[in-house]
Symmetry: C2
Subunit: 82 residues, 2 copies
């Protein structure tokens, strides 16, 4: 299992409700991939969204995002954390 | 008070010990700026480091990172989180 930080661009103006709905769509689709989306943060000004997840691989994380309708632009395995 | 996600590039090969030392340098310098660095994550392969903090402004977050010797490449105020 790894920990992943992924980044989405193009979400200028995203609202709290939209972020919660997008995160819920991830939660609804994560189980079969063995992924869990823990937290998400959005900067509506720059349109950037960060998601923190755990799972078996980058590809599994991306598959959940794709099924949920919002493919990530970057996914980094963050092997180290404090 | 805002919440911030900042990004550093160029940390290819960073170790757990180096990340902990860098985070400690932030903690040692954050008080006078009213900033608190909560967590940090690193991807040694791509050399990317993400830091999550709270504070009065982006500029205050950057000043702490500068004094600690590692200016951030990007700082986003993440006004929304789940």
């Amino acid at each position: 299992m790894g920990t992943y930080m992924d980044v989405h661009h193009g979400f200028e103006g995203i609202t709290g409700e939209q972020l919660r709905a997008a995160h819920q769509a991830d939660l609804d689709n994560e189980k079969k991939e063995g992924v869990h989306f823990e937290r998400a943060w959005a900067d509506p000004e720059s349109g950037t969204v960060y998601c923190l997840s755990t799972g078996p691989s980058k590809e599994a994380v991306q598959r959940v995002h794709e099924v949920a309708g919002h493919k990530a632009d970057e996914i980094h395995e963050v092997r180290i954390e404090v």
